[in-house]
Amino acid sequence: MEILEAIQANLLSPAVLFFALGLVAALTRSDLRFPEPLYAGLTIYLLVAIGFKGGVAIAAAGIAKVWLPALAAMLLGTVIPLWVYPVLRVGGKLSPVDSAAIAAHYGSVSAVTFIAATNYLKAINQPFESYATAFLAVMESPSILVGVVLGKLATKPSGEKSGASLKTAMHEALFGRSIFLLVGSLAVGFLCGETGMRKVEPFFVAPFQGVLALFLLEMGVVAGRRLEDLKKVGPFLLGFGILVPVLNGALGVYLGRLTGLELGGATLLGVLSSSASYIAAPAAIRMSLPEANPTLYLTSSLAITFPFNITLGIPIYLEIARRLYA
């Protein structure tokens, strides 16, 4: 059974095993933890490296090939929070503002999940369009904006204040650290092209997978500390955090095929749809919808969907793509 082998290959990769080690550290109350500047440094490195590589890839492929699936990615980012919101409201009986906040997270994307997926595809020799980073870049913001608007509409519109926090959200969604780094590095990579790439390859490409593995160790610690909160969020969000990603994943793969991507690229679009943001969205939502309860959106994106995706989700979306392209 191919899918089981695919899952096993993923589970035995250094990245996933280090993630598991981080979980163990949190659960055994080891004092292991990365200092914040190290976490920040690794994040910056990963975002800059992935953005830069994506930009170089876009320059090589030409905008003509990229724009249509990129548009599809933005569409996904806008549509996902809209269908997810009522599910949370009705199915989960969550308050409007909490539903809006969670919806924003699931429409947005997790760069680390995306990176883990590209590494996985590389490891099993599945080719993919390396300009797919462009989809990552354009898919972070729209959902955050949609989610904030949903949340604002739900709470009483207190005029001025509401406008101010929409502006905050807008600024956060477009110029927040992680999006800025990703989009900016994409632009730099695009302008540099292959010539620039050759200079920085030994830093941004060769050690990349190892850095990711180290980073996932810390992510395991962070996610592991959240595991206690699983009780607080209840069974609905637990199911939500696994089922909704699978549905979104299938949707992404399907749209990828529709817009002309190859199997690898469609898988990555599926991974992006399915993934939930835990860097850009929490920052923007905490500042624009402070009434929303962070335990709900952080626990579901960080302690449920993220671990699910990097262990089982990624091979599953690949399998979906394989069946669709068969």
Partner: protein, 95 residues
């Protein structure tokens, strides 16, 4: 002169420093801290769960306005603790 100390989640930074400007503070000092409280541990290794401590020297009336605004506008929204103490500053005219 009063020293107002605010410990809050890092995401409240803009909201808090904005408020400081509004009540007329001439400056502030700020640093990252780790915390524990009613909302659980905030371990200061990733920005999503980290705290800052803000310290500001103010005239008594400004301090009063700051505390009231904090209690009204920010306490309901952010994890936060704030307190005031008496200090004797050098060059009081600066504040």
């Amino acid at each position: 002169m009063k020293l107002v100390t605010i410990v809050c989640e890092a995401y409240a930074k803009e909201a808090v420093t904005g408020l400081l400007r509004q009540v007329g503070a001439q400056g502030y000092t700020l640093f990252p801290v780790e915390g524990d409280g009613s909302r659980g541990k905030r371990p200061a290794d990733i920005p999503e769960f980290s705290n800052i401590q803000v310290e500001v020297i103010l005239k008594p009336d400004a301090a009063e306005r700051l505390l009231q605004a904090l209690g009204r506008d920010l306490f309901p929204r952010y994890g936060m603790v704030a307190f005031e103490s008496d200090v004797r500053v050098l060059r009081p005219q600066k504040f």
